[in-house]
């Protein structure tokens, strides 16, 4: 399980635009770098990130080797109703991780 750092409000008013900031620990090995033996190190990156809000996809990102290690993504979403936001990361070598955050939405 990779380490994650997720920052998001736990509560918001309906219609409010909230910001979610997420960092995940991952080397993001580019596939362009040579190791000590001179051979190119195989690519190992997170390729996709998505946010599903009560099951509905509200944001996604496609990442390439140019994204720094321990990738950080900040995005916005409208607080529509109380529920769960599931942040998922997928990548090379079958990497797959999901973290859930709760959001309480008041009128």
């Amino acid at each position: 399980m990779a380490r994650t750092l997720i920052n998001a409000p736990s509560a918001a008013r309906r219609g409010e635009v909230i910001e979610i900031r997420a960092t995940i620990g991952h080397p993001m090995e580019t596939g362009f770098r040579a190791g000590e033996d001179g051979k190119v190190l195989p690519r190992n990156i997170i390729q996709t990130f998505s946010c599903r809000y009560n099951g509905e996809l509200v944001f996604s990102a496609e990442l390439f080797s140019a994204v720094s290690a321990n990738p950080y993504i900040a995005f916005h979403t409208v607080a529509t109703e109380s529920g769960t936001l599931v942040l998922s990361w997928e990548g090379d070598n079958g990497f797959s991780q999901a973290e859930s955050i709760q959001l309480a939405v008041t009128a």
């Binding site: 509200v58 944001f59 140019a66 720094s68």
Partner: protein
């Protein structure tokens, strides 16, 4: 009737060598304008040939970065983000990294605000372009020149 002129077949080994050298030379001698051309091709592929206008998009990045390995960027697009008028996606491209693509973000009216941030790697001083695809099919962009210097000291493995 004249015979078609064929060049004499090269011995296989020399042929491969010539091909390999040609490839290496091609990479080394590729002029800077070719890299910028690649960037234009990458953007055109993303927009499927649709015209891209400068404006509406702001690619926020330091002019002189502290370190090319971790460069914070924020892309903001001027859009009401309603169902009728919103940003569908944002793509960021670079000029001189080994690969043109940096990241692509898919938004939509549920985003509320068209503003995304991440941290990227820049191999050297170069141009960076952020392109936004709007719900009406139009494309807008912002191009920035960034100065990247290599770290002063070369370290071994930790």
């Amino acid at each position: 009737m004249t015979q078609p002129m064929h060049p004499p077949a090269l011995p296989r080994r020399r042929h491969i060598l010539a091909g390999a050298t040609g490839l290496a030379m091609g990479v080394l001698l590729r002029p800077a304008s070719a890299a910028a051309g690649d960037l234009a091709v990458a953007v055109a592929t993303y927009t499927r040939g649709a015209p891209v206008r400068a404006g509406k998009v702001k690619l926020d990045i330091a002019e002189l970065v502290d370190n090319g390995n971790v460069v914070p960027i924020t892309v903001t697009v001027d859009s009401p983000m309603t169902a009728a008028d919103h940003v569908k996606s944002i793509a960021v491209f670079n000029e001189k990294n080994p690969q043109r693509d940096v990241a692509r973000f898919t938004l939509g009216p549920r985003a509320g605000k068209a503003s995304v941030s991440t941290r990227i790697r820049l191999a050297t001083s170069q141009q960076l372009v952020a392109v936004a695809q709007m719900s009406d099919g139009s494309y807008w962009s912002h191009t920035v020149n960034v100065i990247v210097t290599l770290a002063a000291c070369i370290e071994g493995e930790p």
